[in-house]
Amino acid sequence: MSISAPDAPTRPSTSVPRDGGTDPAFRLRGLTLGYGAEPVIRDLDLDIPAGKTTVFIGANGCGKSTILRALGRQLTPTSGTIEVGGRDLARVKARDHARSVAFLPQSPLVPEGLTVAELVARGRHPHRRWWGGGDDDEGVVAEALDMTDTASLAHRRVDELSGGQRQRVWVALVLAQATPTLLLDEPCSFLDLAHQLDILDLVHDLPMPGATRPEKTNGDSTDRDGVAGGRRTVVAVLHELSLSARVADHLVAVAEGGVVAAGTPDEVITTENLRRVFGLDADIIPDPLTGQPVVLPRGRRKDFA
């Protein structure tokens, strides 16, 4: 049932990132997760590559968010181990973990009266000293606001924003955390298609914190790995399949209490896998421009055709 992700870079044109290659960002071994007596995930072995965007897909309630929650220390595994950057997650201090891994939950709470700038500054919490001071907080907050295009909202109250604006502000908060790894649980909820693409392209192209943001050389979305200094590791749970295929370097399909397929979008988005994971009949065609797989759901109508 358990499938390990291939360690080698999978796209022929890709150069091996300095911090990627053989050392995965997360190494999951024999992992069993659950909330009560019945485990949601059973005996899972999985490697999540560093410096790449990994997307979990699967039906509602399949346990993809549960895996993400375990990576973000929201959930203690029933059994098994998680290694992050070669260290056992259970031994990492909460604060140290928050400096290397940021977690954006599905529905965070909006505190009363907080402005956007103040909310984003909350992302600096793990970097603060006990008396409240920290290094370069305002610079990092400003950068996070600029990256998410929310600088013009900085003075607005968060509870007065629209759903889409608010979602970008939440992303800005985890960016201000300046971690090499981002965990995003459905970061595109409440967003229209264009804004979904904005957010996904943004997190996909993120350089490591501290590095200056690289210029996009051209509009070719398939060639994104040539960033000097490596990219941040991004692990996201997404619902939209074609969008997942577009943004993911590494796709993981979760079903039946474990991982049923892991690899490049081409390898994972197959007719058989979609039937197995979602119970969905679909045709798959390559995107005429990028060659990424595009899912054309047929549902039950296929039986009549």
Binding site: G72, Q74, E112, L119, R122, A154
Partner: protein, 352 residues
């Protein structure tokens, strides 16, 4: 290259904006704090100098300096000044306690008076007086035990399956505990030989009539320790405002911090109750008023100062409103607080 330059300028501008907004917020908090300190000194001056027995400022200065003016010295040093100071410190404690409960429980109605914490402390104090003959500041440990029992009952009544306080159940638990505390106080009052009706009023509705140097010094010392601790916990709970998942993601440990903040909030409320009784609605009202003054952001210091202003102002009304009759201070805070609480209820329904 131009693109890179553009981006740098833009980032600098944003950084300036972020800095400016942070400075503006700090100045605004400072303005509110200064304004509230001035307001507190003003109401205390009114309480001491004006009223049925008026004292001139030169006389007051002379009395505080040790001069013996027949009549005036007694009224100022034994009655007016202790009451004003005790009202201020008790209000500070109730206000800070309310801000901590509000932040931990995230509900506008979550405050030590609604949760029955103050009534528990009152019941503990009266029990101590009845069973062990405690008097004055000796009742403090008994009040602490009473408030701890009240908190434990509320927590047990509202705990969900995964621990922690869930939903609105703590409000119902609080109503029950408050009623229980009042029952204990009332039945002991019936048996206790309290000649002075004012002393009985301290424990049922709260009153500043028992003001003494002992009590002021004791509560002041408690505040010196508890206020900074409470302020630190209040700030440490900032990530928890974003929900427990994001708080964990930001590396804070919301569960022990919340427990510590509830503990400090309970001790603050119990300490204030032990010297001034369960002054109704002070803790409940100070946080929303301070939040409104701070343009939507609650701050524990402004909440504490607001509590102090409320108590001293209520005491002015209590001692002057009905001519020669001194009302217990808690009657006035209760009368002011009841409509205010209804207003909070109506407003929270609109938001939800």
């Amino acid at each position: 290259m131009t693109a890179v330059l553009d981006r740098t300028t833009r980032s600098d501008q944003t950084e300036e904006l972020v800095h400016e907004l942070a400075v503006r917020r700090r100045r605004q908090v400072l303005r509110v704090v200064v304004g509230l300190v001035v307001a507190l000194l003003a109401v205390m001056a009114v309480r001491v100098l004006l009223g049925r027995y008026t004292v001139t400022i030169p006389d007051f200065v002379a009395i505080v300096g040790g001069a013996q003016i027949p009549g005036a010295t007694f009224v100022v040093m034994e009655e007016k000044l202790p009451r004003a100071v005790l009202g201020a410190v008790a209000g500070l404690a109730f206000g800070a306690s309310g801000a901590l409960f509000r932040r931990v429980l995230g509900n506008p109605l979550a405050s030590p008076d609604i949760l029955g914490i103050a009534h528990g402390a009152s019941a503990g104090a009266v029990t101590g007086m009845m069973l062990w003959g405690l008097r004055g500041v000796q009742v403090v440990p008994a009040a602490l035990v009473g408030s701890a029992v009240a908190l434990a009952i509320v927590l047990a009544a509202s705990a969900g399956r995964h621990g922690g306080i869930v939903g609105q159940r703590f409000l119902l638990g609080g109503v029950a505990v408050a009623a229980l505390g009042t029952a204990v106080v009332t039945q002991f009052m019936a048996r206790l030989t309290l000649n002075d009706a004012h002393e009985a009023a301290v424990w049922t509705v709260g009153s500043l009539s028992g003001a003494s140097v002992d009590r002021i010094l004791w509560l002041g010392a408690a505040l010196v320790v508890l206020l900074p601790l409470g302020a630190w916990l209040h700030a440490a709970l900032q990530p928890a405002e974003l929900g427990s998942e994001l708080a964990v993601g930001l590396g804070s440990r919301p569960v022990p911090t919340r427990a510590a903040a509830l503990g400090v909030g309970t001790v603050l409320a119990a300490a204030a109750t032990a010297v001034a009784g369960p002054l109704a609605f002070v803790a409940l009202l100070s946080t929303p008023i301070a939040t409104a003054l701070g343009r939507g952001r609650p701050h524990i210091l402004t909440a504490a100062l607001t509590g102090a202003v409320i108590v001293v102002a209520a005491d002015i009304v209590a001692s002057e409103a009905l001519g020669t009759v001194d009302l217990p201070t808690g009657v006035v805070t209760g009368a002011l607080g009841a409509p205010a609480m209804l207003w909070i209820l109506l407003r929270s329904r609109k938001v939800a």
